[in-house]
Amino acid sequence: MSRNRFKFRHSSAFRLALQLSGIFLISLILMAGIAYFQSEKEIRKRAYRDLQDLQKSFLTVSQTQGIDRLQQQIEFLSMGAKSGETLYYLTGPDNQFLAGNVNKIPLFDGRRDIPLSQIELKMKVRGDVRKYFSLGLKIGDGHLILGRSDYEVEEIGEVILNAFFAGFGISLFLTLFVAFLSAYRVNMRIKRIESGLIQASQGDLSIRIPEGTSEDDINLITQKINRMLEQLQATVESLRQVSADMAHELKTPLQRLYQELEELAEQSDLPKQSAVRVNKAFKEANTLIETFQALLRISQLESGERRQGFKDLNVTHLLTNIAEIYAPVAEDEGHQLSLDLAIADDLTIYGDFGLLTQLLANLIENSVTHCKTPCKINLGAKQEGKNLIISVTDTGPGIPSAEREKVFERLYRLEKSRTTAGTGLGLSLVKAIADLHGCQITLEDHQPGLGVFLSFA
């Protein structure tokens, strides 16, 4: 059954797991962000502290030993600072370059984060650097600029990002795995409940859904459903018993009525007028019996008992047999019955041969009796996806769309056919047989005429 195929995205357990994964992802992102900003803050604090110490010592040098000595010291340091981790830049009057490992850098007084793009370094920067934490100071007529690269921040960012992806990947895998597993298990249990309910709705009230040992919500529902089924079964059983008793009680008087009428009809000394009336009464008794029989049959079909006799049936054989029986009947009534098979010869359905024969016979007989003018009746079978569609179509008067659903109701008859013979139970019987086979039945306008379509899953 394709419509029952397990879809993870429709499972509530899977959805919950997905939502949890989402929440986990968001919190992971937040955590990573916080860690990143915290570490950047810490690194910056350290960088400025280092730069401040450096600046302080340079200032002491320039104050005690003069700017030339400072220039010498910076030149010496710049030569060693090849990695670009630390920047030195000293200018004299008119901002003329005195010493440092930088060609060009904005001059300022105080603290500033200077992006790499605004700096022209004398060497290649090693590592991933985006900006320099910089400290500027006016010394005499010039400036002393010191800088420290942020490569540590980038490095830590990378570490955090890697950890984030690894963590998220692993947790996503784990949550999805657990989600699939629990969704699958929950779904299996729900499916058991579902199939039990379907079987019950098809009339088998003796079905019970297997109960697990745990005390979870699904099990509680399962237990409730089973209790409900028990009660329903008991109710239906007692109803059926009453019907069976009633049937028995009614049939005996019906049999006697029949006997009386039969004996009366055989009396040769009956006045002609009486004989006619006895015959009429005989006919009425027959209709009574027929209606009674059909009602009994329908209620027995609805109980689902008959399903025990189901077998795999060859569809071609079933339809050919019906066509063989009814083609001459239709012909005698002036109609034409054709068989139109578009299915594999060995296609089978699971069902009851006698009942399906009766179902199709009923539909064809409806066409034969309700079509007053010669018409074409077609019995067809085709495959539509996984479903087998058996159809009975005619070119007769059809059924008004407003009445199409009602014709399946017991004892319902179209206004125009009330005068003709019949119990009004034919289509109810058809519906009961179709339901027993889990078959969808639809009536369609065949323009002109009626199309009855039976869809077997």
């Binding site: 049939k251 005996t252 049999q255 029949y258 027929e290 029986i325 001459p328 009534e333």
Partner: protein, 224 residues
């Protein structure tokens, strides 16, 4: 011919007894299931008619017990239930035929006759013959007065059933069950239609008619 009738409804029982006696049978009536079983087991009857619902013991159990005890007397089962499963249950239990109440006496009589004169199953027949009509079960050829008749498969089956029961009245219901496997009452003239086609081939071209209509009951094939 002795018939045992096990039926608890007095009116029905009297009606069947009277009817069957008129047909020339001798009928023993028993109302209780247990007594019925004991009498039937005696094996002094040619046919047993048993109601499905009985005081003492159910009809189905009686049939099962009899068959289990190797009593092979033909059994016709009657039922007031008339549900779809009852027929199958009855036949599976070992009844030879099944009739739903209410029924007409003609139907009952026809079925009794068919059961009583049923030939032993072991006997292999390859050829059926009534007058100048011959039906070969092996070659599936049908001839009349030496002339080959071309029959459709179902017409052949219908004729075979009629010929196997030559001289016996076969009701519409019996024909529907035996030839078309139909266990419901069709609203159209299924039997009449097929019968008239068969007659068109078997009887129409010839002077002597073999298939006869029995009004209100059914058909019989015989040379009168």
């Amino acid at each position: 011919m002795k018939i045992l009738l096990i039926e608890d409804d007095k009116d029905t029982s009297a009606y069947i007894q009277k009817g069957l006696q008129t047909e020339g049978f001798s009928v023993d009536c028993i109302a209780d299931g247990h007594d019925g079983l004991l009498t039937a087991a005696g094996g002094h009857h040619d046919l047993i008619i048993v109601d499905r619902m009985l005081p003492g013991m159910e009809g189905i159990s009686i049939v099962k017990t009899l068959r289990g005890a190797n009593v092979n007397t033909p059994i016709l089962m009657l039922t007031a239930l008339g549900g779809v499963n009852d027929r199958v249950d009855g036949l599976q239990a070992g009844a030879d035929d099944y009739l739903t109440k209410p029924f007409s006496f003609a139907e009952l009589a026809a079925r009794c006759n068919a059961l009583l004169r049923r030939p032993p199953i072991s006997q292999e027949i390859t050829q059926l013959r009534v007058g100048d009509l011959e039906l070969n079960l092996v070659t599936r050829r049908v001839t009349r007065a030496g002339q080959l008749l071309l029959l459709m498969p179902r017409e052949f089956q219908l004729l075979e059933y009629l010929m196997r029961n030559t001289g016996k009245v076969l009701t519409r219901t019996m024909l529907l069950e035996a030839v078309w496997d139909i266990n419901f009452d069709p609203r159209t003239n299924v039997v009449e239609t097929h019968m008239s086609r068969l007659r068109g081939k078997v009887d129409a071209p010839f002077e002597t008619k073999l298939i006869h209509t029995v009004r209100h009951v059914g058909y019989v094939l015989e040379q009168k």
